[in-house]
């Protein structure tokens, strides 16, 4: 019962927060609602026994990515921005197309078939701690994707500097 109450709270709060994010006129308010949303997502991860990912969610998304958003918003001029039109002219079309996709996706979710169950039960993860279990897998089986991810980050660093630098 208790997990269901938690899930219900998180689910309702997350949907409301997502709607707030896409409808706020002022992008700063959107970012701040998103901060709250990320805390709820971290809470949901805790409910799913993914404590390491919950911490990473807050550190990376709330602590790094959203701060980046705030920085950029502050560098741009917001005054005229807030007074202008919020939505695209053709927004009813966008909403209806999304609604159709949504219905299609909901129809397919019922066909989900449970695959074979792996060896990482809650007890195994708990005895090994979540961070250690993830780390072992990441640095053995997924070493190559891990290296590629580091390369992507390097490219992002270089690319962001090249793009945002003032050309003299």
């Amino acid at each position: 019962m208790l997990p269901k109450i938690f899930f219900g709270y998180f689910a309702i709060a997350m949907v409301v927060l997502s709607l707030l994010i896409i409808t706020r006129r002022n992008p700063v308010h959107s970012v701040l609602w998103m901060l709250v949303l990320f805390f709820h997502i971290a809470g949901l991860y805790l409910l799913l026994n993914a404590e390491f990912l919950a911490a990473v969610q807050v550190i990376l998304y709330a602590g790094a990515i959203l701060v980046l958003f705030l920085f950029v918003i502050m560098m741009l001029n917001l005054k005229e921005e807030i007074s202008g039109e919020r939505f695209e002219g053709a927004w009813p079309l966008g909403v209806s197309v999304s609604a159709i996709i949504f219905v299609l996706m909901l129809l397919t979710t019922g066909d989900f078939v449970h695959g074979p169950v792996g060896k990482y039960t809650i007890e195994v993860i708990k005895s090994e701690t979540h961070a250690k279990a993830l780390g072992k897998l990441l640095y053995t089986e997924y070493l190559f994707p891990f290296e590629i991810a580091s390369l992507i980050l390097l490219i992002a660093i270089v690319g962001a500097i090249v793009l945002a630098k003032r050309r003299s």
């Binding site: 994010i21 896409i22 409910l47 799913l48 993914a50 950029v72 921005e81 939505f87 990482y120 990441l138």
Partner: protein, 100 residues
């Protein structure tokens, strides 16, 4: 125990809210945030799958998604800053260079 389908439903709803946000907003910053919403909804479903199938591969994938999301945001916002410097525009309908 919460059924797995609830998590998938939640993930779908948030994904679609992200899609709607991306389609209807004019502001590029909010559009980028909608992309983050979509990525996060996928993360939720991956963690849920990983928990219910007792397999950590879903969470490894979440790891990589977070990495790519961070890079994508950095590059996207850098493009936005460059755009603002050149054209003073952060709205999609102000960027009409390619229109004939």
């Amino acid at each position: 125990m919460v059924p797995l389908s609830w998590y998938i439903g939640l993930s779908t709803v948030i994904f679609m809210i992200g899609v709607v946000g991306f389609l209807i907003r004019r502001n590029i910053i909010v559009m980028l945030m909608s992309i983050e919403l979509m990525l996060n909804s996928v993360n939720i479903s991956l963690v849920a799958f990983s928990h219910y199938l007792q397999d950590l591969r879903g969470q490894i994938l979440v790891f990589f998604i977070i990495t790519v999301a961070a890079s994508e945001t950095a590059i996207g916002l850098a493009i936005l800053v460059a755009l603002y410097k050149n054209k003073e525009a952060v709205h999609t309908n102000e960027i009409t260079e390619m229109k004939g």
